[in-house]
């Protein structure tokens, strides 16, 4: 192993090599609870979605008894992928190849030309391979193993350190999904999310409504939990500055931003006006698709419009500030005034530099980047534990 170049815990190749990527897919993503969507994504019996868990594709479907089941997306006949993407109100699950059909509980129910072609096949003994699925905090979670540990055990100790939000109650407005393929390894994106040191610097003019100096953070199991208070100016003028309706549960007692990173690849952002889930899906060693879905209080179009105008009009007067590097170039992410664009830029630049022979990490911040070192240590532990077991 290249001992000279570390990130600083994991080797550089963990972020660049296909071999590392494939192993992570198998060892981490094949053995962890994964975000699969929001509860409302499968509303009615027969609705389904498909999710990639490492090397395995999983179907999540709602039964007529309102229970959600998860199966490996693989026909028991000859292994063809059974279902594509998403679907609504299926009565049964039929493989496109030879029309073998399963009911919503995964049981094989019909095989064309059964008598002639499969006279001895015992249909009732064949069922799709089962996976685990559960609901936690308004989200669907799947695990490729049929008897995974309880989701509440996986997230043990997290719930009580999250916001008072009830995601089930909040509304996701149409066209509010952010989706982007970022040219960086998924861990670079995770590390950016949990890097406390960068908040006051990269985002000096975009996240100034929070008081980064008084943030509280740490790990619970393999999950990272973070909370920070509102900045004084923002807090005092909250009603004028809030871009959307205040979340009902966000009383003074709870106010602040709750921004955890749930291992391995999901960030939440629970704030005074929004609830978002940030899903980083690894595509290649240097490519990650990020999907951010945001929910908020129910608002009429008019309320939404009014709130936006009021917030915009007040923002400059009270919060001051400008973009990181002025306004001269509107295509420059550093001048966009958008913290997401700033992060994407920083991540992609770091990934690029990994190829530079001069790349090395001189030092990492004692406090503000301790989170990055801990995260890398967790990934390292997962990879080495499983290799030993395997």
């Amino acid at each position: 192993m290249d001992t000279k170049r570390k990130m600083p815990v994991l080797p550089v190749e963990a972020y660049t090599s296909q071999e590392w990527f494939d192993k992570e897919q198998e060892i981490i993503f094949g053995n962890a609870w994964q975000f699969a969507g929001l509860v409302e994504d499968i509303k009615d019996p027969g609705d389904y979605i498909t999710v990639q868990c490492g090397l395995q594709n999983i179907v999540v479907v709602k039964g007529r008894d309102q229970r959600i089941r998860a199966f490996h997306n693989l026909c028991r006949h000859r292994g063809t992928q059974l279902l594509r993407a998403v679907g609504k109100k299926q009565k049964a699950l039929t493989c496109p190849y030879h029309d073998w059909t399963y009911d919503l509980s995964g049981q094989l129910i019909s095989v064309p030309e059964k008598e002639k072609e499969f006279p001895d096949l015992e249909i009732d003994k064949i069922c799709l391979h089962k996976a685990s699925v559960d609901i936690w905090r308004g989200m669907l979670w799947v695990h490729p193993k049929p008897n995974a540990e309880a989701i509440t055990k996986w997230f043990d100790g997290c719930w009580e350190r999250l916001g008072p939000h009830d995601p089930n109650r909040l509304i996701e407005y149409p066209d509010s999904v952010y989706e982007k393929v970022i040219n960086a390894n998924w861990k670079i994106i995770a590390e950016n999310y949990i890097d406390v040191y960068h908040l006051s610097h990269l985002h000096s003019n975009t996240l100034q409504m929070y008081d980064h100096a008084n943030a509280e953070y740490g790990f619970v199991g393999d999950h990272y939990l973070f909370w920070e208070p509102l900045s004084k100016d923002y807090h005092e003028n909250l009603d004028k500055l809030l871009p959307f309706k205040r979340i009902k549960e966000m009383t003074e007692e709870y106010i602040g931003a709750y921004v955890p990173w749930l291992f391995p690849n999901v960030g939440l952002s629970e704030t005074e006006a929004t609830w978002s889930v940030f899903h980083a899906i690894p595509l290649a060693p240097d490519k990650t698709k990020v999907i951010v879905r945001t929910k908020m209080e129910e608002m009429t179009d008019w309320e939404y419009y009014k709130k936006g105008i009021k917030s915009y009009a007040s923002w400059h007067g009270i919060m001051g500030g400008d973009t990181k590097y002025g306004n001269e170039d509107s295509d420059d992410p550093m001048a966009s005034g958008d913290f997401m664009a700033e992060d994407v830029y920083a991540c992609e630049q770091q990934q690029k530099s990994l190829k530079n022979p001069l790349f090395s990490i001189a030092a990492t911040a004692k406090h503000g980047e301790s989170t990055v070192r801990t995260f890398q240590g967790i990934v390292e532990r997962w990879m080495s534990n499983s290799i030993k077991e395997g």
Partner: protein, 352 residues
């Protein structure tokens, strides 16, 4: 099975036509009287010089520091239920067997489960025990209860359930349904759901109260026809049979026995290596007739729970008023509990 003497320390009326009996368990019997929520007691009563045994589900919660309680609803012409409601007194002593029964919920502290509970009338007694146990001892699990009654006045534990909903708003949902709501009451008109817990109601309930935790269990307690109806609907919706648990009312429910077309029957019995022939008059159980003929048949609870009196039908037919001790497969093989069985053919042949 042994009976223990327990003293009645309180009698309360959760509704006008039911009585809750609270027992004092002496400290040396504490361990023996441990129970799982959903289990019942078999109690021996002496009514007018006659011995009668009945089984009653415990409505108390084993995870709470509270004494054992059963609740007895008055049944028209019911020997024991009228005795309990009219004559039993605080300080009386009753003969009680230790708690038993296969209908009970395993409560795990770490579990993340959704419990669907269905109860009708006094079927609430084991169900409320399960409900309270989940809320107290399985803090991440949730309960959805569907509770059917005749009218506003027959809802046992109404206030207690209301308090529980207030204390656990995120974990407990209760839907009442009344088959025959009173139109004129002094306090309110019924705005809730009407009708019995039939197939349509079960599907409506499940659809409108989907589980959060996806590990689910289903507990049903009511008259036999309702139980099998709910189970059938759940299975049609795709609930695996092994997740559905059923408890039938004890023998005190005359409703069940009324549906049996019993006849006078000549019964041949093979018992203790001897063969006997006797007449079992219409409406009398086989066990009663055997006892009266001093044939010394095996029995214990006389409530359809313990299976001590089990026999096999060789010829003819008999139907059971209640049966909590046999699986459907056993019944299909011709097994009967003689304490609950009424012959329905002119001739019947059984073997112990």
């Amino acid at each position: 099975m042994k009976f223990h003497t327990l003293k009645v320390i309180a009698l309360d009326k959760p509704i006008k036509e039911a009585t809750t009996i609270t027992f004092d368990v002496p400290s040396e019997l504490y361990n023996a009287f441990n129970y799982a929520p959903g289990q019942h007691l078999i109690i021996k009563f002496m009514v007018n010089g006659e011995e009668a045994r009945r089984s009653y589900s415990l409505n108390s919660c084993p995870f709470k520091e509270e004494p054992l309680q059963v609740t007895v609803k008055r049944v028209k012409d019911g020997l024991v239920s009228n005795f309990v409601n009219d004559q039993l007194k605080v300080g009386d002593e009753l003969e009680v067997m230790i708690p038993q029964g296969r209908f009970h919920a395993a409560i795990e502290e770490d579990a993340y489960k959704t419990y669907f509970l269905f109860a009708a009338g006094s079927g609430i007694t084991p169900i409320i025990s399960i409900l309270k146990s989940v809320l107290l001892a399985s803090p991440q699990s949730a309960v959805n209860l569907f509770y059917g009654n005749a009218n506003q006045d027959t809802i046992i534990f109404k206030e207690e359930l209301e308090t529980l909903v207030k204390n656990y708003p995120e974990r407990l949902t209760i839907v009442h349904t009344l088959s025959d709501p009173k139109v004129w009451t002094t306090w309110e008109t019924w705005k809730g759901r009407k009708g019995r817990i039939d197939a349509e109601a079960v599907e409506w309930f499940i659809t409108n109260h989907p589980p959060i935790a996806q590990t689910t269990e289903y507990y049903i307690c009511g008259p036999g026809a309702m139980n099998t109806g709910i189970r059938k609907t759940l299975q049609e919706l795709g609930v695996p049979r092994e997740l559905i648990h059923i408890e039938q009312f004890g023998a005190d429910t005359s409703e069940e026995s009324n549906n049996i077309k019993a006849v006078d029957s000549i019964v041949s019995v093979s018992l203790n290596g001897e063969n006997y022939k006797l007449t079992v008059p219409k409406g009398k159980t086989i066990l009663q007739s055997l006892k009266e003929a001093n044939l010394n048949p095996p029995y214990s609870c006389e409530s359809g729970v313990c299976a001590t009196c089990v026999a096999k039908v060789k010829n003819g037919k008999a139907e059971m008023k209640a049966c909590m001790a046999l699986e459907d497969e056993d019944i299909a093989k011709g097994m009967i509990l003689t304490c609950q069985s009424l012959p329905t053919t002119d001739e019947l042949s059984i073997e112990f």
